[in-house]
């Protein structure tokens, strides 16, 4: 596989002023006078998915051997179509803080929640009856008070004490949201009660006497409706960078160090004796492709920069609703649903052509 990335058919050229061979062919993977008929075994052989980094909130993996349209479909679905739960309806009983109701509601809406949405149904309409299967209820009841004089602990004698030192609840954070189980929710979520994935998001600031009291209804939604339902902070990919040295024109030894500095750290190795430069295959993926090397005349023709068209280095940061490693499977799930919809529509259409009586009603679209 490693050697295969040097197959020029897979290359996108990165030049000083432009990028070449951006697109795959009209029929991806098909070339004239070759048999490129689709073959599952071949596809399996070519397809590689490898997780490189995994942390609590992010994942980096390689997706190799698919067309950009497929990789992009996953990216788009991750951003816009994987459902999550977010607060949508806010009932303000009292809000005497400086922050206005709508602004506070907007801020609360953007707080990510740690709820698995698979348990929930989409709430068809705002006016529809809220049930324990489509709505989670949170409460936000905060009143700011003065701390009793004795309780005030002050580190240094300053002219002006910090508000947090002398007031209770001077800052309202997402941690102040309290979940109110409805119906069977207390059993369903017994193991993992719904919480914001981050307890430290500042929602409002209060001063003594001010009070916020509101009821919040969270429902299921998707990112294309509103960004608050997006399960990812970012889902993106980049193509694997390639640095191809020209054996015809080696880098002059006196410029080796300068050459190395034109790339990201670790990408170029210099032989300590001969001062000959070589590409470090392991660190190659870290290259930033900032084309610094093209700025220097002395390296003209020494090197070619390329990217591999079907080698996608994905980087996905989860908002915490899903574990990062669960995100790609979720997006595949959504994609398969879409395919299923199309398939059923296509089958219906086919049946129609073959003289069967037309099926009444329109095709139901997945996102309708």
């Amino acid at each position: 596989m490693q050697s295969d990335i040097y197959n020029p058919r897979r290359h996108v050229g990165v030049h000083a002023e432009y990028i070449s061979d951006v697109s795959n062919r009209d029929f991806p993977g098909h070339y004239p006078d070759e048999d490129n008929s689709w073959n599952l075994d071949l596809f399996r052989k070519k397809l590689h998915v490898k997780v490189n980094e995994l942390s609590q909130r992010s994942i980096q993996f390689d997706l190799v051997g698919v067309d950009a349209s497929i990789a992009n479909a996953f990216r788009r679905i991750l951003i816009a179509e994987v459902p999550t739960i977010a607060i949508e309806h806010v009932y303000v009983w009292n809000n005497t803080s400086v922050i206005q109701d709508e602004v506070l509601a907007h801020r609360i809406g953007l707080v990510p929640l740690n709820v698995d949405p698979s348990y929930f149904e989409f709430k068809p309409d705002a006016q529809d009856q809220a049930t324990d299967r489509n709505t989670l209820v949170f409460k936000l009841d905060v009143t700011c008070t003065r701390k009793p004089k004795t309780a005030i602990v002050r580190g240094t004698k300053k002219a002006e004490p910090e508000p947090e030192e002398i007031y209770n609840h001077s800052i309202v954070t997402s941690g102040d949201l309290t979940w109110e189980p409805q119906g069977e929710q207390s059993e369903v979520f017994a193991s993992k009660p719904p919480r914001p994935t981050n307890e430290n998001i500042v929602l409002a600031k209060l001063r003594p006497g001010q009070e916020i009291s509101m009821e919040l209804h969270a429902i299921k939604g998707v990112g294309k409706e509103h960004a608050k339902w997006s399960p990812v902070a970012t889902a993106t990919y980049r193509l694997l960078p390639l640095v191809v040295l020209n054996p015809e024109k080696p880098v002059p030894p006196q410029y080796a160090e300068k050459f190395r500095k034109c790339f990201s750290p670790g990408v170029i190795d210099i032989d300590p004796v001969t001062k000959a430069v070589s590409v470090n295959e392991k660190n190659l993926r870290n290259e930033s492709m900032n084309r610094e090397v093209f700025r220097h005349k002395e390296f003209e023709g020494c090197v070619e920069l390329k990217r591999v068209r079907d080698f996608f280095i994905f980087n996905v940061e989860s908002e915490g609703t899903y574990a990062p490693e669960k995100l790609l499977p979720e997006s595949i799930k959504v994609l398969r649903q879409k395919i299923a919809t199309i398939r059923s529509a296509a089958e219906r259409l086919l049946a129609e052509i073959e003289g069967e009586p037309a099926v009444q009603g329109d095709v139901e679209m997945a996102d309708a």
């Binding site: 951006v22 951003i79 602004v103 900032n290």
Partner: protein, 1146 residues
């Protein structure tokens, strides 16, 4: 070996040389520049503030000028009783207080005045002495009226308060002050630009071949007159408004007491032969007219003097009239002792000589657009004039009041003038309030009639308010097509902002002050004259023409009047400046030499623009590094620099006489001054632009206009304000690329915009013509979100018949409350926080049915009431933000309701960067469709690259580069004019962080998933959301309201009006021949009207009956526009009979 030794020896020698210290420096040490000398600027602003000119001027009026005015008008006598007199001995202005008589706490804050629609004013106290019977009575602290107080002046309660104390008074510490609060509105008296008074201006008219010297005299008495010395057919005349005809100059001089022709020649032409020959025919003319003696000259002039006095007593002889006119009206500012008119003669002689000089050499004319010839009139001066006028009127009214009482032959009590004074009314109070709130300064007494002097302070954004305080309006009328006054003057350098001027008709006439300017107030000239004599100036009255114009002699002018001559001009000026730097003379007195006129001018008058500069002596700036260190440590203030003679103020004339280095490296041996900081040539508004020196100059001007429309934070007290219309941004950010000006004015604390990540590329075609593409997810997350707060106000009135308005709970109909009263609470007002739908009632007011019935005498509680609720009209729902109930000055209950709308950007909303590049939102794109870079960053905004080539806003590109570098390095960058972060440094930071040095990233299409073929310029740019939003503009109508008179559709969006098919559109339809469409548009869809017309008489009838023919036989029905019917009827009302001749009826 030998060579090595030699070099070694050389090194040693070099080391030794280098070791020697001269003034503590080695040979190879670089010469140190004074670093951070720009710190003088914040020090200056700390002392003076941004609107120091307004505040200083007001303080001068309140502390000094008002006393002078009192002194000039300090006596009131009676025509009836000659023994009576009343004298004002002192005057002072108190501090603002509450006017309610029963108030316990008299203290008041400006913010309370804003909220309660009252005037922020302070009492004016006088001390009077008057006769009561035979006694002389003294009464201190008599209030004669109230003066509106300028905020942050030294009579204002905000002066010198700390931030915490200001916060307690709900006042913003960043608010500059300098305006008034009159009836709850904030009013600014704009700075007025005028030609300087009492100075000679020589001009030529090349077409008419005229040379003229003019001088506008203005004295403290308020007399104003303009005197000209003009050429006519090669001869010179004196012209003045009070003299009907031009007077030959020789006759004028003879009348002024210069009898001999020789002396006249010497005083005007001097010894210069060229001037003598030019002047000779003027002497001839006097001889031809038979005027030889002073008496003859006076008689000659006297016959032409316009007498506009009430004729009291016998007519005076002509020569007396002439003498009076010459002594008092002509060149009124030249002081005359007794009947010795010689100073005036010398002044006229000087004017004549200037004319002669200009006749001989056309370069000797003056430029009236030169800033040195301009004076700026400020709030203090205008208020002083107004006060003098009002005070005189007050005294006249007082006098007639006293006369009225004294006329009565017998009085029960002894007459006390104090009582009359108490009843003289609030003339002064209402006079001030009226003038400031209307902006009409019409003072008959001073021949002044100006409208539009005051303006409402624009609170659209912090910058718009600040920009208004530095604005200067010109007296020049806008309609005249002369480019001169509008052009950028080289002498504006550092004084007036070259960028900040409006486009269109006021272009170049409305200017703005630069950052470090100061406007002088009057300085007493008496001590300066004495000082001049002490410095060796010889009195002018002792000099003849020979001495005045002898080579090497310089005439000394003080504020335009000639006081003497000196032969040691350089020494005089040097010594004078030395004394000023030592603080012996006020720092605002300017002195300069005019070598063309061979004159030294000393100026101490108010209204000159000046700015501080570092003094350079012997090629070295006086401000040294150690001084800056002391400043940094906060040990010294700006005033200390002034007192130590390190820094001094230069006015435009003196600046023109100095040799000023822009940078320390360019200081030469002859340099006299060093600029403090080059970016101070820009004003506060233009100072917001990053890298303005890289932009095409009109772009900076456009930004200056647009920065004032940006939505952002307005003041720290913005949520406590109840303004008619208030735009606020929900999440404003300080710009990534700041300037020093931004920090100095506090724009980083009250910003108006957000740092948007911009991709410069084309996308979808919805971005042509400057349209912008916005990222929907960015909008979801709060980008560009803003709030619009609108005030709705009503009075709960009391009527003269004893009835009054009231508030009532929602009316119950059939046991139900109508939906539109949903949000009304039992007190008749909407609840705070409630959502207001269109049509909802937010104040349920009821008015008595007989409010205007003045004959009503019954019980006020028994009257029937009718509903007059206030309903929400806007088509977009809002929320009740605030409800305020208070009392106004005259005890009417005032209710203000603030309704808030929160808006997210939509298609058609206007945005702009800080480089005059505005655009509307053309498309909102989902995040997944947006391109993204290798890091996964999506742009918030996509801008079309076609915006760049023709606009040449290179500054915007550098802003992007610096912003991107700032983001990567984790700090803010600077884009200060003529400085700022360097592009090379920015490029280095980008490369170090793995980005392309040019700021161009590889983007991947969000739609296809493939990389773009081109690299994209990508990074943060500060974007402002402008107040123009489609929501406030969109309008369409099918059917709707019509005007009552014409029955045609109403006009304008606010009246839900129709869209007019105008004359030009009509022409198109006519040209196309679309007659039916024309008929439909102009009549059927507009104001069609069925009329009955008589075929016989041609007049209109009704119901098939002709009232003229008394018949229904020949009636026809036809459709005409209602406007036509109206026209016929109106013509009939004027005795014109329009007849409808119906050819094809029946």
């Amino acid at each position: 070996m030998a060579t090595a030794n030699a070099t070694g020896g050389g090194d040693e020698e070099w080391m030794r040389m280098n070791d020697t210290r001269w003034r503590g420096l080695g040979l190879t040490d670089s010469i140190k520049n004074i670093e951070d000398k720009w710190l003088l600027l914040p020090a200056f602003l700390k002392v003076k503030g941004l609107v120091k000119q307004h505040i200083d001027s007001f303080n001068y009026f309140v502390d000094v000028d008002i006393k002078n005015i009192l002194k000039a008008n300090n006596k009131v006598t009676s025509d009836v009783d000659p023994r009576f007199w009343l004298k004002y001995t002192d005057i002072s202005v108190g501090f603002p207080d509450r006017t309610d008589p029963d108030a316990i706490d008299k203290s008041i804050t400006p913010h309370e005045c804003r909220l309660r629609d009252t005037t922020y004013s302070a009492p004016i106290y006088v001390t009077i002495q008057y006769t009561r019977g035979k006694k002389i009575v003294k009464r201190p602290n008599v209030c004669i009226g109230r003066l509106p107080i300028m905020l942050r002046s030294n009579k204002c309660v905000l002066a010198g308060r700390s931030e915490a104390m200001l916060a307690r008074m709900t006042e913003c510490p960043l608010d500059p002050g300098g305006y008034f609060i009159v009836k709850g509105t904030e009013k600014v008296i704009l700075v007025q630009e005028q030609l300087s008074k009492n100075r000679i201006i020589v001009e030529t008219d090349p077409v008419k071949q005229i040379v003229q010297a003019s001088c506008t005299s203005s004295t403290h008495g308020g007399l104003k007159s303009k005197t000209y010395v003009v050429t006519k057919k090669g001869k010179i005349y004196l012209r003045h408004n009070s003299i009907a005809e031009d007077v030959p100059i020789a006759i004028a001089l003879k009348a002024l007491g210069i009898q001999s022709d020789k002396e006249i020649l010497l005083l005007t032409a001097g010894t210069t032969e060229a001037y003598r020959s030019t002047f000779s025919q003027c002497l001839e003319e006097a001889a031809k007219l038979g005027v030889f003696t002073r008496h003859q000259a006076l008689e000659f002039i006297g016959a032409k003097v316009k007498v506009n006095r009430k004729v009291v007593g016998p007519r005076r002889p002509a020569w007396e009239e002439a003498l009076e006119a010459l002594a008092t009206i002509v060149l009124a500012h030249v002081t005359v002792k007794g009947t010795n008119l010689r100073p005036k003669a010398i002044f006229v002689g000087t004017m004549t000589r200037r004319v002669l000089m200009a006749m001989n050499d056309e370069k000797m004319v003056d430029d009236r657009d030169y800033v040195g010839n301009k004076r700026l009139e400020l709030a203090g001066q205008l208020l002083a004039l107004l006060f003098e006028d009002l005070f005189k009127t007050f005294n006249v009214t007082l006098k007639s009041g006293i006369d009225k009482v004294l006329k009565k032959p017998s009085r029960t009590t002894e007459f006390d003038a104090f009582n009359t004074m108490q009843f003289t009314g609030d003339l002064i109070t209402s006079g001030f309030v009226r003038a400031i709130s209307t902006g009409n300064w019409s003072l008959k007494r001073f021949k002044m009639d100006r409208a539009g002097v005051t303006h409402v302070l624009s609170r659209l954004s912090f910058i718009s308010a600040l920009g208004m305080m530095t604005r200067i309006s010109s007296q020049f009328e806008k309609t005249r097509k002369v480019s001169g006054p509008r052009a950028l003057q080289p002498s504006q350098w550092g004084m007036l902002c070259p960028s900040d001027t409006p486009e269109g008709e006021a272009c170049g006439l409305v200017k703005n002050l630069a950052l470090m300017t100061h406007i002088t107030t009057d300085v007493d000239e008496e001590p300066i004259i004495r000082l001049a004599y002490l410095l060796g100036v010889e009195d002018i009255s002792l000099a003849t023409g020979t001495e005045i114009y002898s080579p090497g002699t310089f005439v000394v002018h003080i504020n335009g009047s000639i006081i003497g001559i000196t032969r040691y001009a350089t020494r005089f000026v040097y010594n004078f400046r030395k004394l000023r730097r030592a603080g012996k003379v006020s720092e605002f007195v300017g002195v300069y030499t005019n070598h063309h006129q061979k004159a030294i001018h000393v100026a101490s008058d108010g209204g000159r623009i000046c700015r501080p500069m570092i003094i350079v002596e012997d090629g070295k700036p006086r401000v040294k590094m150690e001084h800056i260190e002391m400043l940094k440590r906060g040990e010294v203030t700006f005033d200390w620099f002034l007192h130590e003679g390190l820094v001094e103020y230069l006015d435009v004339n003196e600046e023109n006489d100095s040799y000023i280095a822009l940078y320390e490296s360019t200081v030469e041996p002859t340099t006299t001054h060093l600029e403090i900081e080059p970016f101070t040539i820009l004003g506060a508004v233009a100072g917001l632009i990053p890298y303005p020196h890289h932009n095409q100059s009109p772009r900076n001007t456009y930004q200056c206009a647009m920065g004032k429309q940006a939505i952002g934070a307005i003041a720290y007290n913005q949520l406590n304000r109840i303004d008619t219309l208030l735009y606020l941004m929900v999440y404003p950010q300080q710009p990534m690329v700041k300037t020093k000006t931004i920090e100095l004015v506090g724009y980083d604390k009250l910003p108006a915009g957000q740092n948007a990540t911009v991709a410069v590329m084309s996308y979808s075609g919805y971005d042509i013509e400057d349209a912008l593409i916005l990222n929907k997810s960015s909008l979801d997350r709060g980008y560009g979100r803003c709030q619009v707060l609108r005030k709705y106000t009503t009075l709960i009135r009391r009527y003269p018949n004893g009835t009054f308005d009231r508030l009532a709970d929602a009316p119950v109909e059939n046991g139900q409350i109508h939906k539109k009263y949903d949000i009304i609470q039992p007190d008749g007002l909407a609840g705070v926080g409630e959502r207001v739908e269109p049509g909802d009632v937010y104040i349920n007011k009821q008015t008595p049915a007989n409010a205007n019935d003045n004959s009503f005498t019954g019980q006020a509680s028994a009257v029937s009431y009718k509903n007059s609720p206030m309903a929400y009209k806007s088509p977009i729902p809002g929320n009740i933000d605030k409800v305020m109930i208070t009392d106004t000055d005259n005890d009417q209950t005032l209710i203000k309701v603030l309704i808030r709308q929160t808006r997210r950007p939509e298609l058609g909303d206007k945005f702009s960067s800080r480089h005059g590049q505005k655009g509307v939102c053309g498309l909102i794109v989902n995040q997944e469709d947006m391109p993204f870079n290798d890091q996964g960053i999506c742009p918030d905004t996509i801008m079309n690259p076609h915006g760049f080539p023709s606009r040449m806003t290179v500054g915007k590109m550098i802003e992007l580069l610096a912003g991107k570098a700032g983001v990567l390095a984790g700090k803010l960058q600077y884009g200060t004019a003529f400085g700022g972060s360097k592009v090379e440094d920015m490029a280095r930071i980008l490369v170090e962080n793995g980005f392309n040095y040019a700021g161009k990233d590889i983007l991947t299409s969000g739609i296809t998933g493939e990389p773009h073929e081109a690299y994209t310029f990508f990074g943060p740019i500060y974007y402002q959301k402008l107040k123009h939003m489609v929501m406030d503009k969109m309008h369409a109508r099918a059917r709707g309201p019509r005007a009552t008179l014409t029955r045609q559709p109403t006009e304008g969006r606010s009246r839900e009006g129709g869209l007019r098919l105008g004359e030009m559109e009509r022409d198109c339809l006519i040209g196309y021949g679309a007659t039916q469409l024309l008929l439909e548009r102009l009549m059927i869809s507009s104001d069609k009207f069925e009329v009955n017309a008589c075929e016989d008489c041609g007049l209109m009838g009704y119901n098939g009956w002709c009232t003229y023919c008394k018949s229904s036989k020949k009636m026809a029905q036809l459709t005409i526009p209602y406007a036509a019917k109206l026209l016929f009827q109106e013509m009939m009302a004027m005795n014109v009979v329009p007849r409808l001749i119906l050819a094809d009826a029946s």
